[in-house]
C-alpha cells in the first residue's frame, strides 16, 4: 500500500531548519500539581456538574440500596433486555443475581469478525433498553465518567441503549482529568478504549436548539456507591 512516510518526514525535517514557531521551547515546564480533591467536595461538584448536563445521580450507602435504585430505574424504563458489564466489573455485589431474579436478561456482547454475523448480532443488541456499566472513575470538575473497555466491559453498553446506568464508587472520584491521568499513567496500555462520558448525548445542530439523545443515550443515571 502506498506510504509517503519518508517523503513527509524528510520535508518536515527540512522545514524545521527554517521554521518560525513563536514561543517554541525545548521542553514544556512540568505542571506544578494536577490537584488533590477532598471527597465530599468532589462528590458535590460531580453531582452538580452531571445534573447541569441533564444526567441524574443517586447516592447509595450499601449494596442493597444500590441494587434497589437500579431495579427502580429499570422498572421506570421498561423492557427486559439489558446490555451490561460483567458482575466482576461492577462495584455492587449481588447485582447480577438481583437482575436475574427480577427477570432481566443480559445480552452477551461478542461481535464476530464475519461481516454478516457481526451485523446480525448488532441488530439483536439494539433491542436492549438499558445499558449498565461500572465506571473506573469520575471527574468532579466536569461530571464525567471514565469507562475502560475490556472483554468484560463492552463499549456498546454505554452507547447503544437509550438509557445508561453507571455505577461509580465515590472513592474513585478525581478532581479533573489531569489528576486521573496522574493516578493512571499507563491506562491506555490496559485497553483499546477509554471513554470519558459527560452526561447524555446531545446536539444543537438544528438552529442551536439543544436536543438530548441523538446517537448515544438520552438518559444517563449515575448510582454513586458511597461506602
Amino acid at each position: 500500500m502506498r506510504d509517503d512516510r519518508e517523503q513527509v518526514l524528510s520535508q518536515i525535517r527540512a522545514s524545521l531548519k527554517t521554521a518560525h514557531l513563536p514561543t517554541a521551547r525545548a521542553t514544556v515546564p512540568p505542571r506544578v500539581s494536577a490537584g488533590q480533591g477532598e471527597r465530599a467536595a468532589m462528590l458535590e461538584n460531580f453531582r452538580r456538574e452531571l445534573e447541569l448536563l441533564g444526567g441524574l445521580s443517586f447516592l447509595a450507602q450499601s449494596d442493597e440500596e444500590a441494587i434497589e435504585i437500579v431495579l427502580k430505574l429499570l422498572r421506570d424504563v421498561g423492557g427486559k433486555e439489558l446490555l451490561s458489564w460483567e458482575d466482576s466489573e461492577m462495584p455492587v455485589r449481588g447485582l447480577g443475581d438481583a437482575l436475574q431474579a427480577s427477570g432481566y436478561t443480559r445480552q452477551k456482547v461478542k461481535l464476530a469478525k464475519d461481516a454478516a454475523e457481526r451485523k446480525n448480532k448488532l441488530m439483536t443488541l439494539e433491542r436492549a433498553t438499558v445499558g449498565i456499566t461500572g465506571a473506573l472513575a469520575g471527574l468532579a470538575d466536569t461530571g464525567s465518567l471514565a469507562l475502560l473497555s475490556s472483554a468484560a466491559r463492552p463499549r456498546l453498553a454505554s452507547l447503544l441503549p437509550p438509557t445508561h446506568i453507571a455505577l461509580l464508587q465515590t472513592s474513585r472520584l478525581f478532581p479533573n482529568m489531569a489528576s486521573f491521568f496522574a493516578a493512571y499513567p499507563d491506562i491506555t496500555r490496559e485497553a483499546s478504549n477509554l471513554a470519558f462520558v459527560a452526561g447524555p448525548s446531545r446536539t444543537a445542530d438544528i438552529e442551536l436548539v439543544l436536543q438530548r439523545g441523538v446517537h448515544g443515550p438520552k438518559f444517563v443515571h449515575v448510582v454513586l456507591c458511597d461506602w
Binding site: L16, L156, G213, H215
Partner: protein, 470 residues
C-alpha cells in the same frame, strides 16, 4: 485544494443579500461567544491554561518529526496501522484500498475536516461505496448536497424549516419543523446505518505520541458508534495534530470545548489505542490511522507556521466580524473564517486564494479569542505581502502605493500633494456642505455607504506653526 468557479466578490455579494443566513449567523456566533466566555470563566486560571496550551503546540511542532515517529511506533505496537499520505489523492487511494480489501459497501463517517479537505466522499463514491455522514449537522448538509459552513456547526446556515423540508424530501418523513422530531427521525435512520456499515471513518482531534492513542471529541455519540460498531475503523488526521503525552492532552481538552461550544468538556472524549484486543466483544478488528500532509510540512518551514498550532475550535470564526457578515461558504474553501483565511492560501497557494487574507479589517478579535493565542492578523499581513510579491495586487493599487510611498518619504512633495488635495477636495465638497458624496474610481467603494470629508482649510502643521511662532 479545489478552487471554486465563482469569484470571491460574487460569493460575498450573495451572502450579504441572504437575510436567512444573516439571522442564522448572528444567532450562532452570538451564542457561541457568550457560552465561550462563561466556560472560560469556569477555569481557575484560564490565561495560564491558554499559555500552557500554546507552549505545548509550539514545542510539539518544533520536534514534529520525532513525535510523529514516536506516535507511529506506538500505534503499531498497539496493533494499529499507520499510513502517511503526502497529499489528498494519496489519502483517498489508501482509504479506497482498505475498503477494497475488506469488501466495504457502506461507510459511516464521523465529522472530519481532513475528509472534506481531501474530498474523500467523492473518491469513495466513485468506487461505488455508499458514504453516510452521521454527525447530525453533517448529515443535513450531505442530504442538501452542500459543504459545512462552520467548523463546529456545519449546518448553522440552515433554518429549521429548511431542514424540515429537506428531511421530508430526502428521507421521506412527514414535514415537521420541530428539532426534537427531526433529531429523532435522523437517529432512527442513522442507527441502522451504524449497525450495517462495514467501515467507520472518523477524524482525530489529537494523536498522543507517548501512547499511540488517538483522541476524538464529540457530543452526539456518532463518533463513538462510528469507531465501535463497524469492523474497520479508519481515522484521518493532519500531521500537525500531535501532543506529546496524556497530561498535555488534558490541557488541550481544557480549552478545546470551552472555546468551541462553551462546554467545559464534550459529552464524549474517546481515547482509542489500537483495535479491539484480548477478546474484547466490540470495537473494530482493524484500525488504520492516516496522517495527511497535503502541504503542512512545507508550511512548517514558512513565516506562517504558527497557523499549525490551530486546534480547530472555531472560536475565531465566531469572533470575526467579517465571518459574521458573509458566513463560511463565501470563503469558498474547506477552512473558513480567520483561520481559513490564513490556512487556505498557505496550503493551496496564494495565487489561487489571494482574496481570503485581504478580507479582513485586521481588528484582532480572532487573536484575542484563540485558545492557543495564534497571531492570525500577523499572518494575514504576511500573506498580503506574499500576494504582492506574487504579482496579485491590482496594478492601480500597486502604483498608487508606490506613488504614495514616494510622496510620503519626501516631505516637500507630501505638503504639495496634500495642499493640492485640499483644494481639490474642498472644491468637490463645496456644493454638498463640506462632504464628498462620490469619490472617483478606484476609491468609489468608500462612498457607496459613507461620505468623505473635505480636507481641513489649514493643515495641522500650518496651525501648529502659526501658534508656536518663536
Amino acid at each position: 485544494m479545489h478552487t471554486p468557479n465563482v469569484t470571491f466578490h460574487e460569493r460575498v455579494d450573495k451572502a450579504l443579500r441572504d437575510q436567512i443566513l444573516h439571522t442564522a449567523l448572528d444567532r450562532a456566533t452570538g451564542r457561541f461567544q457568550t457560552m465561550r466566555l462563561s466556560a472560560l470563566a469556569s477555569l481557575e486560571d484560564a490565561d495560564a491554561v491558554r499559555d500552557r496550551a500554546r507552549l505545548i503546540r509550539a514545542h510539539t511542532l518544533s520536534r514534529l518529526d520525532a513525535y510523529l515517529e514516536q506516535f507511529a511506533t506506538n500505534v503499531e505496537k498497539a496493533g494499529g496501522h499507520v499510513h502517511f499520505a503526502a497529499d489528498a489523492s494519496a489519502l483517498n487511494e489508501i482509504v479506497n484500498e482498505i475498503a477494497r480489501k475488506h469488501d466495504v459497501k457502506t461507510v459511516v463517517k464521523g465529522k472530519s475536516m481532513i475528509s472534506e479537505e481531501a474530498e474523500l466522499n467523492r473518491a469513495l463514491e466513485s468506487n461505488d461505496i455508499r458514504v453516510v455522514e452521521t454527525d447530525l449537522g453533517e448529515y443535513i448538509i450531505q442530504l442538501a448536497g452542500e459543504t459545512p459552513s462552520h467548523i463546529v456547526g456545519p449546518a448553522i446556515h440552515k433554518t429549521k424549516e429548511q431542514i424540515g423540508e429537506l428531511l421530508h424530501e430526502k428521507i421521506s418523513i412527514p414535514y415537521t419543523d420541530d428539532p426534537a422530531q427531526m433529531t429523532a427521525a435522523a437517529r432512527a435512520k442513522l442507527r441502522r446505518e451504524f449497525l450495517e456499515a462495514d467501515m467507520g471513518i472518523s477524524g482525530v482531534n489529537f494523536g498522543i505520541a507517548e501512547t499511540g492513542t488517538i483522541c476524538l471529541v464529540e457530543n452526539e455519540g456518532n463518533g463513538r458508534l462510528t469507531t465501535t460498531a463497524p469492523r474497520v475503523h479508519v481515522a484521518l488526521m493532519g500531521i500537525e495534530r500531535i501532543v506529546p503525552n496524556l497530561d498535555d492532552l488534558s490541557v488541550m481538552l481544557q480549552v478545546l470545548a470551552r472555546s468551541a461550544t462553551g462546554q467545559k468538556i464534550t459529552v464524549y472524549t474517546n481515547l482509542i489505542t489500537g483495535p479491539r484486543r484480548n477478546g474484547e466483544g466490540d470495537g473494530p478488528d482493524e484500525l488504520h490511522i492516516i496522517l495527511l500532509d497535503n502541504g503542512r510540512s512545507r508550511v512548517l518551514g514558512t513565516e506562517v507556521a504558527e497557523i499549525l498550532y490551530c486546534i480547530r475550535c472555531g472560536a475565531c470564526l465566531n469572533a470575526c466580524p467579517v465571518y459574521r457578515e458573509i458566513g463560511g461558504h463565501a470563503y469558498g474553501s474547506v477552512y473558513t473564517g480567520p483561520v481559513g483565511a490564513v490556512l487556505t492560501p498557505a496550503l493551496g497557494g496564494i495565487a489561487a486564494w489571494n482574496d481570503l487574507p485581504q478580507a479582513s479589517s485586521l481588528c484582532g478579535a480572532c487573536r484575542e479569542v484563540c485558545p492557543v493565542r495564534i497571531d492570525i492578523p500577523r499572518m494575514l499581513l504576511v500573506e498580503r505581502d506574499q500576494a504582492t510579491r506574487a504579482g496579485k495586487m491590482a496594478w492601480w493599487l500597486r502604483l498608487g502605493l508606490h506613488l504614495y510611498s514616494f510622496t510620503v518619504t519626501r516631505p516637500a512633495l507630501f505638503h504639495a500633494a496634500t495642499t493640492f488635495s485640499r483644494w481639490g477636495s474642498r472644491l468637490a465638497a463645496a456644493p454638498t456642505n463640506g462632504w464628498i458624496k462620490r469619490l472617483p474610481p478606484p476609491l468609489i467603494g468608500w462612498t457607496r455607504s459613507r461620505d468623505f470629508p473635505a480636507f481641513a482649510k489649514k493643515s495641522f502643521r500650518e496651525q501648529f506653526e502659526a501658534s508656536h511662532k518663536k
